[in-house]
Symmetry: C2
Subunit: 492 residues, 2 copies
């Protein structure tokens, strides 16, 4: 069967866009890992030029015409799915007037720049007007994006990261979690109170790096299709076929680099496992931020903190760092639950509290029921109720701690906890089909877990919607009970 | 004074092109230093897309219109020089029919690929028809480029690398060199016959790297504007503001990495010193391949093999590698003259013989007076007469040794020896103005040499033609007598 000609022409256009996105990924990675300071001005100019070019390609009138023509062509279900993704990406690129995009770029650049100092100085009074201006613009953006898609403003923001997911679904899930999580946290703290105190010995960067590389191999990272480097914030970048992940070494805490490497390896294996035959097409790309996070958290939380993998992990730690940990000690170190103010330092159990708080706040900021001026009180109240902690007069460790809002990224936060929930749900499905994961790993069958993920998640790219993907893999839509069961199993 | 509007518009177009060239430089560097094998297919596609885009920008009809309009605007001399470079680049991009460019890309790709094995196997019979096809296409290219510029075919090829330089000038220079160089080589060999034999101890890559970085600092490399990495063939890449140089470490021969680092540092300082106010414009770019090579060879040959710099270099070698060399021993090791078959292994004295041979050969291949079939005999005869060596039945170490012809780069070779000659001429001018260079370096005034180069060469970019640049800096056009005097001074 020959490929219908308009669809074919569209595919070629998206392949071109993808080639320029390849360069974008390379530029971003290099900037964070390799580029000397003096290169930043020239790089910023080149990357801006590239972004303009990609935007021009995505908003070319030809694309819209081709989309309409291809729609009435006889397409296979996969081609139809690809067309849907093409239309979605085109809509996202075309929806916003360029004046708004430009204004947002400028405003968030300034807000982020000022925020770096304001946060350090706990300068809420200085930050508030900047954030207000950003929120105003994001509300305008949300309004326009929502109208273009027939969505509420906040849902339109959510859909930038989680296509097809609505705030009301997340609300339902999160409201249920709020009924048991604060209590669970208290129980876990009591449960862990008798644990012996452990100290972490210092380890050189070289040794930690050798450990990271060894663990990446254990987790099936393909070094012919990627590499590990260092950046100030760990991330997973590059392109499928050439995954560039990073970590950051702290001599006083080898667990930080080790577990961020494991996390990013999860992201990387997803990208390395995306369907080769769809590479360069929208349908060949990772499904959503939450699904991406489900893979990194599956590696970091479900696998690496489980008794099955902890045993070989402990052996590798001792081998590379010359320590003498037992697997139980490493388990204790990596499953310690302690309510804290900072999201990025939070453990697996308290993490959702940070997300639920932000989700409630940003929804209310967007629908106007919460003003920026009232944000510190809102934050303090929510922290008190969820984690029993106060952020009064401590906004730097409260509502000023994250970069997301200063850069105008509202709608992103839920992905983290949705990811954790999907990860637990995938684990449930794997165990139903293959048996207990820790046992599988202990039996040397870790690869069967990866094969399952390859078959059910990685190889699907964006050929299915998030809901179709999860339902096909697990037999049901998002079901937070798996996450609840996982937490109770592991922590009580 | 306001900038004339057509000229202004042109500048903006070239700035855009420059931004995409920035990405091209990054992609090339990454491919040679960082990219895992699995990334090559995706990278090749992205780079091809980028090359097409840059070619489209350079051949946009708008550019030709703007060039004509700007020509009649009131421009400063520098703007006029920039316009000349713009016109030159545009002409180069527009001259060739895209079918020819595409055919050459494909043919040379195949020829190079096959050559890698054919060279290993000394398979001249297999290589000859491939090279014939490449030469045929290059002759067509040369014909078209020549007609577009009113140049002979070979001059048109030369001009791709050395704008404004003609084969007849080079012939005159090379013919004079041939009258004394073969004899000098014999004299130097006799002169060096009594030198004691020295062995080079093995050194670890880590120690060699620390030595390289230290020597780069000594030579004024700005690490805020660049970095050193490893690649299989050393090169200087990146962009002004972010110079990426590479070296290659051999445990058995630290001098290889050390002197290639010094060589590339010369290239890098030229790029780092290009005029900031012209960055992104054609006039702000390096003048030509020979001028580039003059800077790298000034560092590698004139400076680093001179008695002034050898002393601190020796100290650094001993410090980092734990050796106990004297400066005289290092001088002997780095100035040993030995006629050999391989150009890239040749010393400073015999190197021009390799170039003169190739210049004569490629000129004759392009004008048709030499057929590919006769190349092995031509090569053998020339090697016999210049260096007293035969390449009979040894084409892998004769006419098959270089990558240049398999990839269709004819016209490039002369740049190497022109560079060596310009370097010697610049040294002459510096010594006439500032005094003996070795003495300056010994007196801790190395920086005065760099300041001179910054003022006279680096800061000029392409604002002057090669001849204007050299004349302004040294008071005369290319004069090979400086090179001759340098060789006699150093080696006899």
């Amino acid at each position: 069967m020959t490929t219908p000609k308009h669809y074919q022409a569209l595919s070629q256009e998206f392949q071109r866009i993808y080639h320029f996105q390849h360069l974008q990924a390379l530029g971003d990675w290099d900037q964070a890992t390799m580029m000397p300071m003096g290169g930043s001005h020239g790089r910023a100019e080149a990357m801006a030029e590239l972004a303009v070019h990609i935007h021009q390609l995505k908003t070319a009138p030809l694309l819209l015409e081709l989309l309409d023509c291809a729609d009435s062509e006889p397409l296979s279900p996969s081609q139809r799915a690809n067309l849907t993704e093409m239309r979605y990406q085109t809509l996202q690129a075309n929806a916003l007037p360029s004046a708004l995009v430009q204004a947002k770029t400028q405003l968030t650049y300034q807000c982020e720049h000022a925020w770096r100092d304001q946060r350090k100085n706990n300068d809420w009074q200085g930050f508030a007007p900047n954030l207000t201006a950003v929120i105003d613009l994001v509300r305008e953006e949300a309004q326009i994006l929502g109208e273009a898609q027939g969505l509420s403003p906040y849902d339109a923001l959510l859909n930038k990261f989680e296509p097809g997911t609505q705030a009301c679904q997340i609300e339902q899930v999160f409201n249920e979690v709020k009924t048991w999580l604060p209590d669970l946290i208290k129980q876990v703290q009591q449960h862990q109170a008798s644990r012996p105190h452990l100290t972490i010995p210092a380890s050189s960067v070289d040794k930690q790096q050798a450990l990271s590389l060894d663990v990446m191999s254990l987790l099936g990272f393909d070094f012919n299709q990627g590499r590990l480097d260092v950046s100030s914030h760990p991330f997973s970048g590059g392109v499928p076929g050439d995954q560039r992940i990073t970590t950051r070494y702290e001599e006083q805490d080898f667990l930080s680099a080790l577990f961020s490497t494991i996390h990013e390896t999860g992201h990387a294996r997803y990208e390395q496992g995306l369907p080769l035959e769809w590479r360069g097409q929208p349908a060949g790309q990772a499904r959503s931020m939450a699904i991406h996070e489900s893979q990194s958290l599956f590696f970091e939380m479900q696998l690496a903190r489980g008794k099955g993998l902890l045993s070989p992990l402990t052996a590798k730690v001792n081998q590379h760092l010359g320590t003498q940990f037992t697997a139980t000690q490493l388990e204790h170190l990596t499953t310690q639950v302690t309510p804290g103010l900072i999201r990025v330092d939070a453990d697996e159990v308290t993490y959702p509290c940070h997300i639920m708080l932000r989700f409630d706040a940003e929804k209310a900021l967007v629908d106007g029921s919460l003003s920026v001026a009232d944000l510190p009180d809102f934050w303090d109240n929510a922290m008190q109720s969820l984690l029993g902690l106060s952020t009064k007069d401590n906004d730097r460790n409260g509502c000023m701690q994250d970069i997301h809002w200063p850069v105008g990224e509202l709608g992103y936060f839920p992905s983290y906890t949705l990811g954790a929930m999907y990860a637990a749900q995938l684990r449930g499905a794997i165990e139903a089909q293959l048996g207990n994961i820790d046992q599988l790993v202990s039996d040397g069958k870790l690869n069967r877990v990866f094969e399952w993920l390859q078959h059910n998640i990685w190889s699907k790219g964006s050929l299915l919607t998030t809901n179709e993907l999860i339902t096909a893999a697990t037999g049901e839509s998002l079901n937070p009970q798996h996450f609840k069961r996982h937490l109770f199993n592991r922590y009580l």
